[in-house]
Symmetry: C2
DNA sequence: GGCGTCATGTAACACGTTACATGATTAG
DNA sequence: CTAATCATGTAACGTGTTACATGACGCC
């Protein structure tokens, strides 16, 4: 399991509350690992019991108080041991691929709109990633700041993961174009 | 949920037993949807109760008898309604991406072997897909057979899904090369 | 007054994974 | 005789999803 580990990585990058983690799982780290706040609170509680993380009460004004979690030594050790443990190259799950094969037994043309919607979602995500890359890694401000600092593993590794997301979205867009062209050849009445 | 629907598609392509389905989920349809036999038997039983599939006892010689399932009208209707229902473009889950970001807080070079293992697994899967494509779609035998038959949606849609798998594996291999180059810059002692 | 955001949680259920269990046949 | 393949299942557990619940603050 890796939700624990994803949380550890996120808290090492920056401590935060369960709520903040939930929001990160809708953004940066959430691009390749999703979790809802219910899951996060449950796991966070377990991790606190196991001594992987430590909570600190942070009173806030104008907002509810929060519990800020940070990684404890045991958590760091758990992450390290997981990193050294080989994992199975995971298999993908594509609902859409099931639908595409299923369309052969229904009306292929009826899927076109659905595929277009997915294509649009991937286009949006790609734009979002590219904007983030520009802002944090390749834009003038980011490169100027980086030029003065020493090589930074955290930053470089975040960037290579983001490049993976970008490559994935580009591949999906191209493939969905291929799917659309194929579906068009099997419209109603053929 | 889509395991039900993946099973329906697979049974429409060809009726079969739970055991046979489990094997298909290790191969063709399993490239984009995985399931173990325990899951399959459980779901198949529910689907039978719901009247989505029908079982027929097939006595065999030299092997245990099997129950051959095929799709009933209710199942076809359920599939059709699912096909017309929009689904959310799913988000990916990449353990490996979590590990790569986590490596910043450990020893980046220690991940190199792991990434190489994953790269090899993707290379193997790519070869496997390409062999299947040659055999079923682009090879001389397959194209000769197809030339005599009318345009076949089932076949074409299976092919476009396979092309998606091929594109995915190629993208992953390229990205993992990028990851390896990045990790190499942060070896121990840097 | 109502809606959105910040903040944390419980409960029930669905789905997925791992381990265990059985038993026949065929190939080495 | 041993291992692999065919064939079907149960039980326990862990993870993920959906619905429900609460309450304060700020903005329109």
């Amino acid at each position: 399991m890796a939700l624990e580990h994803a949380i550890l990585v996120s808290l090492l990058e920056k401590p935060g509350s369960g709520y903040e983690l939930a929001r990160r799982f809708d953004r940066s780290i959430g691009y390749f690992w999703t979790a809802t706040h219910q899951q996060i609170y449950r796991v966070l509680k377990r991790m606190e019991n196991d001594g992987w993380v430590e909570a600190r009460d942070v009173p806030q004004q104008g907002r509810p108080d929060k519990k800020e979690y940070s990684v404890a030594d045991l958590g760091r050790a758990a992450l390290s041991s997981w990193l050294h443990d080989p994992i199975e190259p995971e298999s993908v799950r594509h609902d859409l691929a099931v639908k595409i094969r299923g369309a052969a037994f229904d009306d292929p043309a009826a899927l076109i709109r659905e595929v277009q919607r997915h294509r649009q979602a991937h286009r949006d995500r790609l734009s979002h990633y590219l904007a983030g890359e520009e802002r944090d890694f390749t834009g003038p401000e980011a490169t100027a700041a980086a030029a003065e600092a020493p090589p930074d593993a955290e930053r470089e590794l975040q960037h290579v993961v983001l490049r993976g997301g970008i490559a994935y979205e580009r591949m999906m867009i191209d493939w969905l174009d291929d799917v659309l062209a194929t579906l068009a050849r099997f419209g109603p009445g053929r």
